[in-house]
Protein backbone atom coordinates (compact mmCIF):
# COMPACT_ATOMS: atom_id res chain seq x y z
CA UNK A 1 0.00 0.00 0.00
CA UNK A 2 1.57 3.32 -1.02
CA UNK A 3 1.98 5.69 1.91
CA UNK A 4 1.08 9.34 1.79
CA UNK A 5 3.81 11.74 0.88
CA UNK A 6 5.60 12.85 4.05
CA UNK A 7 3.15 11.13 6.37
CA UNK A 8 4.93 8.77 8.74
CA UNK A 9 3.67 5.19 8.35
CA UNK A 10 0.84 4.36 10.71
CA UNK A 11 -0.14 7.95 11.47
CA UNK A 12 -2.62 8.45 8.63
CA UNK A 13 -5.55 7.14 10.64
CA UNK A 14 -4.56 9.43 13.50
CA UNK A 15 -4.60 12.43 11.17
CA UNK A 16 -7.90 11.43 9.57
CA UNK A 17 -9.61 10.97 12.93
CA UNK A 18 -8.26 14.30 14.07
CA UNK A 19 -9.47 16.31 11.06
CA UNK A 20 -12.98 14.86 11.11
CA UNK A 21 -13.36 15.39 14.86
CA UNK A 22 -14.73 18.97 14.68
CA UNK A 23 -17.17 18.24 11.85
CA UNK A 24 -17.90 15.47 9.31
CA UNK A 25 -15.91 15.69 6.08
CA UNK A 26 -15.89 13.81 2.79
CA UNK A 27 -12.82 12.07 1.39
CA UNK A 28 -11.65 14.89 -0.82
CA UNK A 29 -12.08 17.43 1.99
CA UNK A 30 -10.11 15.22 4.39
CA UNK A 31 -7.18 15.17 1.98
CA UNK A 32 -7.44 18.94 1.45
CA UNK A 33 -7.67 19.66 5.16
CA UNK A 34 -4.60 17.61 5.98
CA UNK A 35 -2.66 19.35 3.24
CA UNK A 36 -3.73 22.85 4.27
CA UNK A 37 -3.25 22.30 8.00
CA UNK A 38 0.27 21.03 7.36
CA UNK A 39 1.06 23.97 5.04
CA UNK A 40 1.42 21.60 2.09
CA UNK A 41 4.02 19.52 3.94
CA UNK A 42 1.79 16.44 4.04
CA UNK A 43 -0.24 15.16 1.12
CA UNK A 44 -2.54 12.20 1.32
CA UNK A 45 -2.75 10.10 -1.80
CA UNK A 46 -6.11 8.59 -2.63
CA UNK A 47 -4.34 5.23 -2.75
CA UNK A 48 -3.75 5.47 0.99
CA UNK A 49 -6.78 7.52 1.95
CA UNK A 50 -9.53 5.14 0.86
CA UNK A 51 -8.05 1.97 2.35
CA UNK A 52 -7.48 3.91 5.60
CA UNK A 53 -11.08 5.18 5.60
CA UNK A 54 -12.37 1.66 5.02
CA UNK A 55 -10.24 0.38 7.87
CA UNK A 56 -11.70 3.06 10.13
CA UNK A 57 -15.22 2.10 9.02
CA UNK A 58 -14.51 -1.58 9.60
CA UNK A 59 -13.31 -0.84 13.11
CA UNK A 60 -16.23 1.44 13.85
CA UNK A 61 -14.10 4.55 14.33
CA UNK A 62 -15.96 6.43 11.62
CA UNK A 63 -19.44 6.33 10.20
CA UNK A 64 -20.23 7.35 6.63
CA UNK A 65 -23.35 9.03 5.34
CA UNK A 66 -24.37 10.60 2.06
CA UNK A 67 -24.85 14.35 2.31
CA UNK A 68 -24.90 17.31 -0.02
CA UNK A 69 -21.75 19.42 -0.03
CA UNK A 70 -21.73 23.22 0.02
CA UNK A 71 -21.18 23.10 -3.75
CA UNK A 72 -24.36 21.04 -4.13
CA UNK A 73 -22.73 17.71 -4.95
CA UNK A 74 -23.62 14.40 -3.36
CA UNK A 75 -20.73 13.43 -1.13
CA UNK A 76 -20.11 10.76 1.44
CA UNK A 77 -19.18 12.35 4.74
CA UNK A 78 -17.31 10.65 7.52
CA UNK A 79 -18.30 11.31 11.10
CA UNK A 80 -16.24 10.24 14.09
CA UNK A 81 -17.87 7.82 16.54
CA UNK A 82 -17.40 7.51 20.30
CA UNK A 83 -15.14 4.55 19.63
CA UNK A 84 -13.23 6.70 17.15
CA UNK A 85 -12.73 9.40 19.79
CA UNK A 86 -11.18 6.81 22.09
CA UNK A 87 -8.99 5.52 19.28
CA UNK A 88 -7.90 9.07 18.50
CA UNK A 89 -6.85 9.65 22.11
CA UNK A 90 -5.01 6.33 22.24
CA UNK A 91 -3.18 6.91 18.95
CA UNK A 92 -2.33 10.46 19.90
CA UNK A 93 -0.79 9.27 23.17
CA UNK A 94 1.17 6.56 21.37
CA UNK A 95 2.40 9.01 18.80
CA UNK A 96 3.41 11.54 21.47
CA UNK A 97 5.33 8.93 23.42
CA UNK A 98 7.24 7.77 20.36
CA UNK A 99 7.95 11.32 19.19
CA UNK A 100 9.27 12.23 22.66
CA UNK A 101 11.45 9.13 22.72
CA UNK A 102 12.90 9.91 19.29
CA UNK A 103 13.52 13.52 20.31
CA UNK A 104 15.34 12.36 23.44
CA UNK A 105 17.62 10.16 21.37
CA UNK A 106 18.32 12.88 18.83
CA UNK A 107 19.19 15.38 21.57
CA UNK A 108 21.45 12.98 23.47
CA UNK A 109 25.17 13.58 23.38
Amino acid sequence: MPKGNGIPPGTLILLILRVVRPAPLHGYAIAQRIRHLSSDQLTVEEGSLYPALQKALANGWLRAEWTTSETGREVRSYRITAKGQKQLEAERDDYQRIADAIATILESA
Binding site: H26, G27, G47, Y50, A58, N59, W66
Partner: protein, 135 residues
Protein backbone atom coordinates in the same frame (compact mmCIF):
# COMPACT_ATOMS: atom_id res chain seq x y z
CA UNK B 1 -22.50 -2.54 16.96
CA UNK B 2 -19.44 -4.68 17.38
CA UNK B 3 -16.68 -5.15 14.86
CA UNK B 4 -17.57 -8.69 13.84
CA UNK B 5 -21.15 -7.87 13.21
CA UNK B 6 -20.09 -4.89 11.11
CA UNK B 7 -17.71 -7.05 9.08
CA UNK B 8 -20.33 -9.70 8.39
CA UNK B 9 -22.85 -7.01 7.48
CA UNK B 10 -20.34 -5.55 5.06
CA UNK B 11 -19.76 -8.96 3.50
CA UNK B 12 -23.47 -9.54 3.02
CA UNK B 13 -23.94 -6.13 1.41
CA UNK B 14 -20.61 -5.98 -0.33
CA UNK B 15 -21.93 -5.27 -3.78
CA UNK B 16 -23.86 -2.25 -2.55
CA UNK B 17 -20.96 -1.01 -0.40
CA UNK B 18 -18.54 -1.21 -3.28
CA UNK B 19 -20.94 0.58 -5.60
CA UNK B 20 -21.15 3.35 -3.02
CA UNK B 21 -17.38 3.49 -2.74
CA UNK B 22 -17.08 3.71 -6.49
CA UNK B 23 -19.58 6.54 -6.58
CA UNK B 24 -17.73 8.27 -3.75
CA UNK B 25 -14.46 8.01 -5.66
CA UNK B 26 -16.11 9.32 -8.80
CA UNK B 27 -17.24 12.40 -6.89
CA UNK B 28 -13.78 12.80 -5.43
CA UNK B 29 -12.21 12.59 -8.85
CA UNK B 30 -14.64 15.18 -10.18
CA UNK B 31 -13.68 17.60 -7.40
CA UNK B 32 -9.97 17.41 -8.16
CA UNK B 33 -8.09 19.96 -10.24
CA UNK B 34 -6.07 17.19 -11.82
CA UNK B 35 -8.15 14.01 -11.81
CA UNK B 36 -5.36 12.02 -13.48
CA UNK B 37 -3.47 11.84 -10.18
CA UNK B 38 -6.30 9.82 -8.68
CA UNK B 39 -5.31 6.19 -8.76
CA UNK B 40 -7.14 3.40 -10.53
CA UNK B 41 -10.61 3.05 -9.03
CA UNK B 42 -10.66 -0.72 -9.22
CA UNK B 43 -7.27 -1.08 -7.58
CA UNK B 44 -8.39 1.25 -4.82
CA UNK B 45 -11.59 -0.71 -4.30
CA UNK B 46 -9.58 -3.90 -4.03
CA UNK B 47 -7.24 -2.34 -1.50
CA UNK B 48 -10.22 -1.06 0.44
CA UNK B 49 -11.67 -4.54 0.43
CA UNK B 50 -8.56 -5.71 2.32
CA UNK B 51 -9.56 -3.51 5.25
CA UNK B 52 -12.62 -5.64 6.00
CA UNK B 53 -10.61 -8.80 6.40
CA UNK B 54 -12.48 -11.13 4.06
CA UNK B 55 -9.56 -11.94 1.79
CA UNK B 56 -9.21 -15.45 3.15
CA UNK B 57 -12.82 -16.17 2.20
CA UNK B 58 -12.35 -14.85 -1.33
CA UNK B 59 -9.16 -16.88 -1.69
CA UNK B 60 -10.82 -20.02 -0.37
CA UNK B 61 -13.76 -19.63 -2.75
CA UNK B 62 -11.43 -19.11 -5.66
CA UNK B 63 -9.40 -22.18 -4.73
CA UNK B 64 -12.58 -24.20 -4.46
CA UNK B 65 -13.77 -23.09 -7.89
CA UNK B 66 -10.40 -23.89 -9.44
CA UNK B 67 -10.47 -27.30 -7.76
CA UNK B 68 -13.93 -28.14 -9.04
CA UNK B 69 -13.09 -27.01 -12.56
CA UNK B 70 -9.89 -29.06 -12.59
CA UNK B 71 -11.80 -32.15 -11.51
CA UNK B 72 -14.48 -31.59 -14.15
CA UNK B 73 -11.81 -31.22 -16.80
CA UNK B 74 -10.26 -34.63 -16.13
CA UNK B 75 -13.03 -37.02 -15.03
CA UNK B 76 -10.81 -40.10 -14.99
CA UNK B 77 -8.55 -38.51 -12.44
CA UNK B 78 -11.55 -37.39 -10.45
CA UNK B 79 -13.04 -40.90 -10.40
CA UNK B 80 -9.72 -42.55 -9.48
CA UNK B 81 -9.11 -40.08 -6.69
CA UNK B 82 -12.65 -40.50 -5.37
CA UNK B 83 -12.39 -44.30 -5.40
CA UNK B 84 -9.05 -44.28 -3.62
CA UNK B 85 -10.30 -41.90 -0.98
CA UNK B 86 -13.49 -43.92 -0.55
CA UNK B 87 -11.54 -47.16 -0.13
CA UNK B 88 -8.99 -45.61 2.21
CA UNK B 89 -11.53 -43.97 4.45
CA UNK B 90 -13.83 -47.00 4.41
CA UNK B 91 -11.01 -49.38 5.40
CA UNK B 92 -9.96 -47.08 8.20
CA UNK B 93 -13.45 -46.77 9.58
CA UNK B 94 -14.07 -50.51 9.41
CA UNK B 95 -10.82 -51.41 11.15
CA UNK B 96 -11.35 -48.82 13.82
CA UNK B 97 -14.88 -50.03 14.42
CA UNK B 98 -13.60 -53.59 14.85
CA UNK B 99 -10.89 -52.46 17.25
CA UNK B 100 -13.42 -50.44 19.19
CA UNK B 101 -15.82 -53.35 19.62
CA UNK B 102 -13.07 -55.87 20.35
CA UNK B 103 -10.65 -53.87 22.48
CA UNK B 104 -11.75 -50.43 23.51
CA UNK B 105 -15.37 -50.78 24.50
CA UNK B 106 -16.14 -52.46 27.81
CA UNK B 107 -18.25 -55.62 27.26
CA UNK B 108 -21.98 -55.02 27.26
CA UNK B 109 -22.72 -57.03 30.41
CA UNK B 110 -24.72 -56.14 33.48
CA UNK B 111 -22.79 -56.30 36.78
CA UNK B 112 -19.50 -57.36 35.26
CA UNK B 113 -18.06 -57.59 38.78
CA UNK B 114 -20.38 -60.44 39.69
CA UNK B 115 -18.98 -62.70 37.00
CA UNK B 116 -16.80 -65.56 38.07
CA UNK B 117 -14.62 -67.96 36.17
CA UNK B 118 -14.62 -71.56 37.24
CA UNK B 119 -11.53 -73.72 36.86
CA UNK B 120 -11.06 -77.33 37.78
CA UNK B 121 -7.59 -78.23 38.91
CA UNK B 122 -6.12 -81.71 39.35
CA UNK B 123 -2.50 -82.51 40.24
CA UNK B 124 -1.48 -82.72 36.58
CA UNK B 125 -4.15 -80.92 34.65
CA UNK B 126 -6.24 -77.79 34.73
CA UNK B 127 -9.37 -77.27 32.69
CA UNK B 128 -11.92 -74.54 32.37
CA UNK B 129 -14.64 -76.87 31.20
CA UNK B 130 -16.52 -77.27 34.41
CA UNK B 131 -20.02 -78.61 34.52
CA UNK B 132 -22.26 -76.66 36.84
CA UNK B 133 -25.93 -76.85 37.51
CA UNK B 134 -28.30 -74.27 36.10
CA UNK B 135 -30.69 -73.27 38.83
Amino acid sequence: MNTWFRRVWHLLNRRRHERELEREMREHRAAMHDPSTFGDTHRLIEQSRDAWGWNWLDDALQDLIVGVRTLLKSPSFAITATLMLTFGIGLNVTLFQMARVGILRPPAIKNADSWVRLLRAAPNSTTSTVPYPLT
